[in-house]
Amino acid sequence: MGERERRLDEIRTQRSPLENHLIDELRSGHIGRREFIRRGTVVGMSVPLLGLIASACGVSREEIERKDPAQTGTPQRGGTIRAGILQPSGALDPVTVADQGGLGVLGQSGEYLIWSDRDLKAQPRLAESWAPSEGGRVWRFKIRQGVKFHDGTPMDAEDVAATFNRLADPDAGSNALSALGGVLSKDNTKAIDASTVEFQLDAPNGNFPFLTSSDNYNAIILPKDYDGDWEKTFIGTGPWKRSAFRPGEGVSYVPNREYWDKDRIPISDASEVRFYSNEQSEVFGLLGNEVDILVQFSVAGGKALLTDPDIRTIELQASAHRQVHLNNSTEQFKDKRTRQAMALLVNRRDLVDGLLDTKSDFGNDSPFAPVFPSTAKDVAQRQQDVRKAKELLAAAGQEDGFRVQLDGWNGFEMPDLAQLIQQNVRQAGIKIDLSITDAATYYGDATFGNSRWLDSAMGITEYGHRGVPNVLLGAPLLSKGTWNGAHFKNARYDDLVKDYTAAIDLGEQRRYAQQIQELLLDETPILFTYFYYYLTGAKSDIANVDVTAMGHFDLSRTGRVKS
């Protein structure tokens, strides 16, 4: 037995069956390095340990902890780093924040149990470690000790429990309720002792750690006596402390010198987050040197940045996408062959190249984006096939085509997507009447019977990035899903999602994922045509820009590189 094997055996004797299974998956080649690290962090293994195991399995640590070449360079200490984001749409309250601007601000002074990083790895922050029991129904988190809120109060397990019970409270007006619904109920988070929190879930959930992470952006840990007026203090445990807040204009921060992680005490003297009311102003802000970093821009709105030699674009693979639902209860789309034909008529290559300048992955008509480790990679990609589409339409008695209204709202590239789909399906005699309104009209009351989104025959809806597909598999597609504009009702699908959600093991998740992907390809209730990348713009002399596709940005290590 070689030294490497002996070292691996030593490690394995101290690991749980679940962790050992993951190691087996790596050794057998069923999962790659990247998936091993991602999944390992979710079940509570630390990145250094995963690196050690991977190294013992013949994968060097250097290969895993790769560096983005665009991010290299040693930043200088001092100065002020300025980032531009969209203006938060309402009061900054961690419980109710529901937009990109708001979540960007929460992540500066606030902190999560886990940081879901740009590679979807779960990095310990206020939680030191975590582990499931009872088949994933119960999760215990070890809470870091010695951490203080910005007012000097120590943070403990009771603060963590209070934070999650507040978010799961149906009477709190919590934005996180939609993510926690059916997973974690109020009062089911308990502080066992000062450093241990136990989550008793409504049902087993293998991806639960992501719901405690920065992916669930409302979940910054707040003091147990939080009174709802966060704007007064911006209280948190993060590396930045608020120095000034100018409503509508921005926030200024200074480093939190008492921060628990000495390696992440900001290297800059200050940071500023500036608010912009629209993307065009954001782009002007970066081009006009008003900010150093534009946290997110789109291909359509930021073409000038993509070609500017002084701007470095950071691209992150993401799960953000547009869903084109085909209402299964309508005359036009009740036959799955018609729905399949619609999907086969769409030229995805044109969409990705034309709308997104290739900065996107192809969608395969399921929420399983290529970025998710659990996505089954060997399900064949659906391609445009006009001949087959016409055959399917003929078999469904729709050989002469039909007329249908496509609803949507005037945001991002969605009107262009609607037009391209309209052109694509015309070749099979299908006539689409576009009805593009404002967002408020499209969503209406967001309940069945009172919403174009949920009542239309065909509609385009935008969905942001998620670190795991659970939410996307649920509300838009489950028979009783509250966002199910497709009116898709399939008992087998519901069962598969339940099984997938409960699975802790990555191999098991992939097996269910494959069945779900194949079922959705067959049924085609929704067209998922692309998953677009998260784009960040930074001045070329700015290094260590750490962003995630969720919209978080960590400026603690960001600084200017000496020219």
Binding site: A91, P170, G173, S277, N278, E290, G444, A475, T482
Partner: protein, 317 residues
């Protein structure tokens, strides 16, 4: 004069009540509610209901309206539902910003366009007249957002003379603030110059043709005296009315320019309030803009009556 002003103020009050009723009725047809607007379309309905309850938005709009009216009488404008800050704070900041921009634009555009219009009229038919008239008309025909983008591209990004935003850094002095507001003010100058100059030109030409001007010239008065004493006094009457109506636009109607220059003025505050169904903010904001319109019109009427005694006498008769 006092009776004239009193009568106008009474009419203004009635107008404001009608205005608040129109906004109230309009708000009822807007889709969605504040809770849904804050939490987004994907939020759990229980959370939306709870938030609406907490914000007092579950009460009927009629009840909200009378609460708001009752508050106004005690000097309380209410609390913005979306921002959870006193409406007076939200609108106060926005109003100050809008006033700064409006004053700078006003100070540039009013004398410039009146001088331009009068100069064109005095040189009617000449190349200078055509240059001012056609140039002004062309500038006005270009939409404000085109001017805004064009000015930013040329003066901010290409030449680097002016900042891309209108918001000066915190703690900036008077001149810095003016510097930041030059580009958006120039947009307004381009948009308004043609309109005001055209009115001034038409009024001046009409006055130049009038019998009293001809009589003054025949009497042998110097041209400068005729223009200053007889022509301008009469020619500016319609221009004053136009300028007064633009005052309201300059304060409350600059949404596009505020958006492009990332400036937190009344226009943006009202737009957000309308899209989010933030009733107290929307009602009060519209009322503030209404008051500005009415005050500007009242000032214009007073100036009108000072310049033209027939208006004043008519009011008294």
């Amino acid at each position: 004069m006092a009776r004239f002003i009193g009568k106008r103020m009474l009419l203004s009050l009635i107008t404001l009540v009608l205005l608040s009723l129109i906004v109230f009725i309009g708000a009822q047809v807007l889709p969605g509610d504040i809770g849904r607007s804050i939490l987004g379309p994907l939020a759990d309905q229980r959370a939306v209901d709870a938030l609406n309850e907490r914000l007092g938005a579950n009460e009927s709009l009629v009840s909200q309206y009378f609460d708001w009216i009752g508050g106004l009488f005690t000097g309380d404008m209410g609390t913005s539902l979306a921002f959870r800050r006193p409406v007076s704070d939200v609108l106060g900041d926005a109003l100050v910003n809008s006033l700064k921009l409006a004053i700078i634009a006003f100070v540039i555009v009013v004398p410039l366009s009146i001088l331009g219009g009068v100069y064109a009229a005095l040189n009617e038919g000449s190349k200078r007249d055509r240059f001012i008239s056609l140039g002004g008309l062309s500038a006005t025909a270009v939409p404000d957002f085109v001017w805004a983008v064009l000015l930013i591209l040329v003066f901010s990004l290409l030449l680097g003379i002016f900042p891309v935003t209108a918001t000066a850094p915190p703690g900036s002095g008077f001149f810095d603030q003016v510097y930041y507001l030059i580009l958006p003010a120039m947009c307004l100058v381009f948009v308004l110059f043609g309109y005001i100059a055209r009115m001034a030109r038409a009024g001046t030409i009409e006055a130049l043709d009038a019998d009293y001007t001809r009589t003054a010239i025949i009497k042998g008065l110097p041209r400068r005296t005729v223009v200053r004493g007889h022509v301008l006094r009469n020619s500016l009457l319609p221009t004053i009315a136009v300028v007064a109506t633009q005052a309201g636009y300059l304060l409350g109607g600059l949404l596009v320019i505020e958006t492009i220059f990332n400036y937190q003025g009344i226009g943006q505050a009202l737009y957000r309030a309308a899209t989010q169904k933030d009733f107290p903010l929307l009602e009060t904001g519209v009322l503030v803009v209404g008051v500005v319109y009415l005050v500007a019109t009242l000032i214009a009427d007073i100036m009108y009556s000072v310049l033209n005694p027939r208006v004043r006498l008519g009011g008294e008769q």
